[in-house]
Amino acid sequence: MKILVCISKTPDTTAKIAFTDNNTKFAEAGVQFILNPYDEWYALVRAIELKEADPSIVLHLINVGGADNDPIIRKALALGGDEAFRVNSNNTDSYYIASQIAEIATQNNYNLIFTGKETIDYNGSSIGGMVAELLGLPYISLATKFILEGTSCIVTREIEGGEEVDEVNLPIVVSCQKGVAEQRIPNMRGIMGARSKPLTVKEPINADVLTSIDSFELPPAKAGVKLVAADNPEELVRLLHEEAKVF
């Protein structure tokens, strides 16, 4: 059994969002970068749990990015995983990235490919579905539970106001969100061990770029909070009705 987990580098959740170069580039100066929380807490940890239950499982990680992503990849290896690939490209188009992941997947024949539900920077939620289509595999998106049962799996996915339980034969691609696993912190043994795990850099294959970001913009600043006295609920209701016109 071989598992691939797709990991991404994102600005920290609390990072200040600003842009440079005439609003065409994210201002990276002073920003702390992290392993994308959905990839780390849910996709990677669930894969590690599966490997703990069955040590014969081979667990690979893949990232598409530049050399400055290596510390993030090492952190993921410190949590768990046998080896990692980094495809050396800074392109951010989802189709291009999915094509690179599909290429590595084709070379290694994985039974299971995990992604996080989305990255917290581009919020595309697209890589899993694209990889699945490129490989001709079934895809379950936004899983809240994943159980492996021999050569098939039981996956619970979120739907409007509830959930759906699906049974699918492997191989499969699954995007993971809250519920699939619990966040872990790497221990010292993992951190030391991660240094000697293989991290192979691959050059990208030729792939089309279907979209590009022309510019960024920040939302207009809020006017500031209008406080209403606690003993005057009628005034709040009046403001919501007549000024904000929300009901």
Binding site: T13, I17, P37, Y38, W41, S94, Y95, A98, I120, D121, Y122, N123, G124, S125, S126, G129, M130, E133, L134, P138, Y139, S141, L142, T144, R157, E158, I159, E160, G161, G162, E163, E164, V165, D166, E167, V168, N169, K178, G179, D208, V209, L210, T211, I213, D214, F216, E217, L218, P219, K222, V225, K226, L227, V228, A230, P233, V237, A244, V246, F247
Partner: protein, 320 residues
């Protein structure tokens, strides 16, 4: 040529978010001088010709029982066939659970650039540029789609449902339905509630409510407003409320017209899930709660005293 809109259904009814997508798609079709056409998979009870009032000229249906179960691979195949047969130039989805599963697959299948999480109509003056949410609601990106066929998935509540006169022609779309590799074993849905992802008004409670036994003030206010209920992460982690009510970075991301946060301090992870709400009301007894900085209206006070009074004032206004 046409603009094709995927009309997502659940238990025989077209989802509200898909009506937003239909209104948006109809507007795009006017901008491009093309025809807006919808596609519905599975069995629906809704009166489909009446969906013409959202600007749809034609609705293609594939009535097959197996399509009442969702499989993104099967749906992608059928929508791709439909897109080819009607020479669709733009394909629109709601960026809901099913849209997030199908749109990326279709993007690969048709080699069509995808913008997911769109919040505005495309700009056509210099190519085809779609504005979308990025950085978890803290910024927007203007994304240029470079391919001949374009796919847009529209965020919930980002485009207003737009009604007009009109009747849609309903036609069967003849297509072979591939076998599904996904066996749906169980579907659990909460009946009778306003689905959170579709709600225009959301009333949300946090740790400040002290325990699940105190939720009546939240549900009473929600009922008076016709709103959905939500909660913060600690509340769902403590099982005070069901997990599907959790909004925030790790929970559901929502953008209702009105979000009322009661007893929620407003951690940055919570804001990431709700900061796109059009109007935010914060009720908290701590005047230093960070949520007030992100709010449009605020009440500093004890929720147990303030909220029932607001509920009464709303009932009075609405005459209920």
């Amino acid at each position: 040529m046409s603009v094709l809109i995927f009309l997502d259904q659940s238990e025989g009814h077209i989802k509200k978010n898909s009506l937003e997508a239909a209104s948006y798609g109809a507007k795009v079709s006017e901008m491009l001088n093309e025809s807006a056409e919808g596609i519905v998979l599975g069995n629906v009870q809704d009166d489909l010709p009446s969906l013409g009032k959202y600007g749809l000229k034609k609705i293609h249906t594939v009535k097959k029982d197996s399509l009442d179960n969702f499989d993104d691979a099967v749906f992608t195949d059928i929508i791709a066939e439909a897109a080819k047969s009607m020479n669709a130039k733009v394909i629109i989805f709601s960026n809901n659970f099913n849209g997030k599963a199908i749109a990326p697959r279709l993007s690969v299948k048709l080699k069509a650039g995808l913008v997911s999480g769109a919040v505005a109509l495309p700009q056509l003056s210099n190519g085809f540029i779609v504005k979308k949410n990025v950085f978890s609601g803290k910024a927007f990106a203007n994304v240029s789609i470079k391919t001949d066929i374009k796919i847009i998935s529209l965020n919930a509540n980002a485009y207003k449902i737009d009604e007009r006169e009109g009747t849609a022609e309903v036609v069967d779309f003849n297509v072979s339905v591939p076998d599904s590799k996904v066996k749906v074993k169980k579907v659990d849905k909460v009946a009778g509630e306003v689905p959170l992802a579709e709600a225009e008004i959301v009333v949300s409670g946090g740790r400040g409510l002290k325990g699940p036994e105190n939720w009546q003030i939240i549900t009473d206010l929600a009922k008076a407003l016709g709103a959905a209920t939500a909660c913060s992460r600690p509340v769902s982690d403590s099982d005070w409320r069901p997990h599907h009510e959790h909004v925030g970075q790790t929970g559901l991301t929502i953008a209702p017209n009105l979000y009322i946060a009661i007893g929620i301090s407003g951690a940055i992870q919570h804001l990431a899930g709700v900061n796109r709400s059009k109007t935010i009301v914060v009720i908290n007894k701590d005047p230093e709660a960070p949520f007030f900085k992100a709010a449009d209206y605020g009440v500093v006070g004890d929720a147990f005293e303030v909220v029932p009074k607001i509920t009464e004032a709303i009932k009075k206004l609405k005459g209920i």
